[in-house]
């Protein structure tokens, strides 16, 4: 470990890049080499235990810092130990839902491992060579420890490309249907954990669904312009007002419609539409809503550059504000890691200035407490959900 790498470990960052590694094993868990290694400084003093990747840009993911020489732990023993801590914390949260994140990678001391629970099923994701190699053991561990019927591996995200890992999705343990029905507050939602987006749902927003719905007045007329499976819309529909939910994706629309029916929410209308086109057309029709939720997929990924993405967010927020009644709530969100919280504040201020409306910031929320962020590692906490009120 060169001095820069040593400093990075001392600072508590869990990722050490290849260029800071002076020497390491030629093979890793993927090629018959070690899963865990002891990290030493240039004078061979012990610094940490870490998982090892021989090829990917992030060479080391720190599992524990230490100044004394200690035997390397066994990966699965460490997983089992930290899993209990993560699980106990989630139990203490007493969330009003049966779908939640149980392990949030680095932020739960388990770099490269993500575990979600959905009712009687679990979904795991591995984003490091070490965790990838441990997939069969992890799947069996989760099935047994959680008593779930099935464990689905959703190792089909872009984070895997970065590590040089193949994209795969499969039933990793157990069996039966990959479609599950899970509960968020009063609502039940269906998702296919193997084929729908992300791990089936976007659980990081689940608490925000409930908080926004609780702030909506009874009978509120609501718009949820990027609804996916209906998360915000279903929660808002419980307030008994007319709710319009749209998504560009036909499959998401079908799921959202089925979820509305499942919960007997006939006041929730789901339509297929491009959100930006929809916002423009609602504005042209002089429509106004008590609550406007805008929770797009990461615009900053899809656009040519950051500038275009920022413009897209600002336009989205501006159009949302124009559709919000005085006294109503606008809830713009961003899941893009390339837009910082401070930058999102600037986008909101700029949109408010442009719309000519005075705007209260009631809360700047992020992901739920089951998706904690690791201090110093903003990559572990990208979700922004601002609750605004138009004066």
């Amino acid at each position: 470990m060169n001095p820069r790498g040593c400093a990075r470990i001392a600072s508590g960052h869990p990722w050490i890049y290849r260029q800071d590694v002076v020497s390491g094993p030629e093979a890793d868990a993927r090629t018959g080499g070690p899963t865990l290694v002891a990290v030493l400084d240039e004078r061979r003093r012990p610094l940490a235990h870490a998982t090892w990747a021989a090829q990917s840009p992030v060479a080391l993911r720190i599992l524990q810092r230490q100044s004394e020489k200690k035997p390397l732990p066994e990966l699965m023993a460490l997983v089992a130990e930290r899993f209990e801590v993560a699980l106990a914390w989630r139990q203490r949260l007493a969330l009003d839902r049966d779908a939640l994140r149980l392990v949030h990678g680095e932020a739960d001391g388990l770099p490269g491992l993500f575990v979600d629970r959905y009712a009687d099923a679990a979904v795991m994701q591995t984003t490091s060579v070490a965790m990838d190699a441990a997939r069969p053991a992890l799947a069996e561990f989760l099935k047994k420890r959680l008593g779930v019927r099935i464990v689905v591996a959703r190792d089909d995200g872009s984070a895997r490309d970065f590590e040089g890992l193949p994209r795969v999705r499969e039933i990793a343990a157990g069996g039966g249907a990959t479609e599950v029905v899970y509960r968020l507050g009063e609502n039940r939602l269906q998702a296919d954990l193997l084929t729908d987006s992300k791990t089936g749902g976007f659980l990081d927003q689940a608490d925000n669904h409930a908080v926004v719905a609780a702030l909506a007045p009874p009978g509120a007329r609501c718009l949820d312009a990027f609804t996916y499976h209906g998360g915000f819309a279903l929660a808002l529909a419980r307030r008994q007002g007319a709710v319009l939910a749209t998504d560009e994706d036909a499959q998401a629309v079908a799921r959202a419609k089925a979820n509305a029916a499942r919960n007997h929410l006939s006041n929730l209308e789901v339509r297929q539409a491009n959100a930006f086109d929809l916002l423009r057309s609602l504005e042209a029709d002089k429509q106004h809503f008590d609550v406007v939720v805008l929770d797009p997929p990461a615009l900053a990924k899809r656009q040519a550059g950051d500038h275009a993405a920022f413009r897209a967010y600002q336009e989205m927020i501006l159009r949302g504000l124009r559709l919000t009644k005085p006294g109503g709530l606008a809830v713009p969100c961003s899941c893009s890691g390339r837009v910082s919280r401070a930058q999102f504040d600037e986008l909101v201020s700029a949109a408010a200035a442009q719309s000519g409306q005075s705007l209260q910031i009631l809360e700047r929320r992020g992901a739920g407490r089951d998706h904690p962020e690791l201090a110093g590692v903003p990559e572990t906490g990208h979700l922004k959900c601002w609750i605004l009120r138009v004066l």
Copy 2:
């Protein structure tokens, strides 16, 4: 109004500085001149209605932007109208307390006016020449509209110096004791609205008291090192663990002790101590807590410069982290407007790196929803309350 002032109005900022005013009345509400003025651009086109201050650095506080010439409203009619909107919103919040902010100045469209309710009393603060001149009318209005027994004016803050207004505190309407007992959740607290700090309590933290207490495990051993009247400590003591609360100020300590007794919380110990000395001595004694709350008065005001203030915050957070058990919560706060949310994030990360602990950021909270921030005006939202969990 010069072009810079016009641009500022167009951007929605409610404060226009003197140097952007081309010409205005020589007198203002304090000296027999107008309370409200019509703001025009250099071609004498209407831009806004605003309150006027002939001498203070902020010359104009925008009440409403408009592009057509309209008759000037009467200040008290505008106050009455906007007060109803502010009140209706607070009622919808259904807060679990009888002390709350009813009017939050600029963020409620009433620049220079702040109103808090405490049980059967109200406290008002005016920080502009126009609102200051309207104090008798405002006090009578509040007494009648809210049906309160007494209205106290706490016009003794530093914001008044900036406007060239004298510092005063007085009974502005009604009468009887200025000491009141108010309710925050399960607890009752006593404060003297005329002589205690701020408006008697620090109501912007009230929701955070409840949220932190709800996250504390039953029986949690807790430290509240800047307790004032016991806000966090009383809420935490409801979890039945041993709670230590300290404050440097003897009068605050007496109040916190009386509040502990009033709520029969014999598990809450209140001591007079300098928080930094206390943190050092608890660390030397190897004490550890399940919850450590650090909610100091604005350190950035008290220190020679920002650098020293930042160092003080960082030291405070570091020492708090060292006193927090693994799995425990650390809750550092800052009410200093000179420390941005992004800077507070940096202070937390730096303290985590220095302490060698891994730290989850569970929530980045601010003031309660009864203290909204006006988008684009960070001065209206200075409170930061981060809920951290030590891994």
